[in-house]
């Protein structure tokens, strides 16, 4: 099961061996729902005789061996993204860098403002989610972090559900990984902005390699910042993409030549609509970007 965890909204894609089979749009209303991205439960916990995961596996006739994947739209203070190199971090390997970040983030990032413990991960420049990262010391790497307390709340919930955890991913990173795997970033340099409830994350890909990432307040701010970096990043006529979860009203203030990854053109990117059963038992076509993202993630 892949959960999208927002601040007020929780959605889930229920998947079998061959991919998604069901979709739940409003799990935040369930008494046994996972914690929200703020770290709080949507309702007072009051589990019945069956856990939410059991109910969903029964509803969609799946095996009881449940695995959870959490895609979290965390608050800005609870997340960190950065592109760097091992050379700049003065580390010889990814494992050494992770250890140093865990023990002494001030040493790595200079002025680390937050005393909140973070968990860290490093992805390679292609943002492959499933392979071990062993970059050269001068190769760009993506450093991502999320508040330990927030991650622990999902672990506790998954344990109470009797499930194992596949991964906990920040929504923006999951979207950028999806974009790099599904958009034509190999053929053209690309600028991607991910707009969520918690602001926007902008990223620049040079021939599929992530070379820049930044957090901004809104999609328009993100595009403005990216425009200023195009020359510095030596990008050639980059394509512009916007992945927006709800921020459709901001489209007026963003560049005209960008491709908005929304329900209208997602079929062209993914190839087909998703036909997923919902709680009432009927199969419905799902073309919302979040559904395609979750479906792609469970296949990784």
């Amino acid at each position: 099961m892949a959960f999208f965890i927002g601040h007020e909204k929780i959605e889930a894609l229920v998947a079998g061996v061959r991919g998604g089979v069901g979709y739940e749009r409003s799990l935040e209303k369930d008494n046994d729902a996972p914690p929200l991205a703020s770290g709080h439960s949507s309702l007072v916990n009051g589990t019945g005789s069956r856990t939410l995961s059991r109910k969903l596996t029964s509803r969609y006739r799946l095996r009881k061996n449940i695995k959870h994947l959490f895609v979290v739209d965390a608050e800005k203070k609870d997340r960190f993204f950065g592109v760097s190199t091992l050379e700049r971090l003065r580390q010889k390997s990814v494992s050494a860098a992770l250890e140093e970040m865990h023990e002494n983030p001030q040493q790595i990032f200079g002025n680390w403002p937050d005393q909140t413990p973070f968990r860290w991960a490093i992805l390679n420049r292609e943002m492959s989610l499933g392979t071990d990262t062993s970059p050269r010391i001068d190769e760009p790497i993506l450093i991502l972090g999320m508040a330990d307390e927030l991650c622990a709340s999902f672990e506790s919930w998954a344990e109470a559900q009797g499930a194992s955890i596949l991964a906990i991913l920040p929504l923006s990173i999951a979207v950028l990984a999806w974009c790099n795997a599904n958009l034509a970033t190999k053929d053209r340099d690309s600028l991607v902005v991910v707009a969520t409830d918690q602001g926007a994350v902008s990223a620049a890909f040079k021939r599929r390699s992530l070379i820049y990432i930044s957090q901004d307040e809104s999609a328009s701010d993100a595009f403005s910042a990216l425009e200023g970096e195009v020359d510095a990043l030596e990008l050639e006529r980059p394509a512009r993409y916007l992945w927006a979860i709800y921020h459709t009203e901001e489209r007026r203030s963003i560049p005209e030549d960008l491709l908005i990854i929304d329900e209208e053109n997602i079929r062209g990117i993914s190839g087909e609509s998703l036909a997923l059963q919902e709680g009432h038992g009927k199969k419905i076509k799902h073309d919302r970007p979040i559904a395609h993202l979750l479906n792609w993630l469970v296949k990784q």
Partner: protein, 213 residues
């Protein structure tokens, strides 16, 4: 997908819970432990049996000590009984003379006049009791002499036969002879009887129990 941002503790628990290798190891371990159940049950049973055996041994030892203590008080009586038991062969080899004489008196007809009755022991066997040596007879010889009228017929023989019937099994008539004479003939009867037979035929009655003193 790599388990990004999942704590190592949770990952370790997941490996223990879901990894096939660990599941197989757990299965093997549980199977091994299940196989030990009969052995454990047997061990518990053996331990209980051993404990009961030890308790019983203790009880028996206590009983034996109590019996030995009681027996020490009866040692003197036991010695006396043993001496009496030792005398059994001597006491058993006896003939109730008065009963024999009484029987002869009952059986002798009026035609017979007895002149001599000799009862003698023979075939002695040595029996050692403690430090003493006793000669115990195995046979009793009875010799009766007398006279009967010349026309008395076989009255002496009838006496001999009736007396033989009264004596214990194994008894026999050794001699029954008649010497000529007028007007009375002299007869001589000789009988032998084992000493270890019963003499109920002589009118001796059993007291109460065979081994009673």
């Amino acid at each position: 997908m790599k388990p990004h941002l999942v704590s190592t503790a949770v990952l370790a628990r997941q490996v223990y819970r879901y990894s096939r290798a660990y599941r197989f190891a757990a299965f093997a371990l549980l199977s091994f432990l299940l196989l030990q159940v009969p052995a454990v049950v047997w061990l518990i049973y053996e331990r209980q049996v051993g404990q009961e055996r030890r308790i019983r041994t203790g009880q028996l030892a206590a009983d034996a000590a109590r019996i030995a203590s009681d027996r020490r008080a009866l040692a003197d009586t036991e010695n006396k009984l043993k001496r009496i038991q030792d005398l059994a062969p001597v006491l058993r080899a006896r003939l109730p003379i008065s009963a024999v004489l009484g029987k002869i008196e009952q059986l002798a007809s009026q035609d017979l006049a007895l002149s001599q009755v000799v009862i003698d022991a023979g075939e002695f066997q040595p029996v050692q009791i403690e430090t003493s040596l006793f000669q115990v007879p195995r046979q009793i010889n009875i010799v009766i002499k007398g006279e009967q009228p010349a026309q008395g017929g076989d009255a002496y023989k009838r006496l001999a036969e009736k007396l033989l019937e009264s004596l214990p099994p194994g008894s026999k008539i050794a001699d029954a002879s008649l010497a000529d004479g007028q007007p009375f003939k002299t007869f001589r009867l000789a009988l032998s009887a084992p000493t270890n037979g019963n003499y109920f035929g002589l009118g001796v009655t059993k007291i109460s129990a065979q081994n009673s003193l």
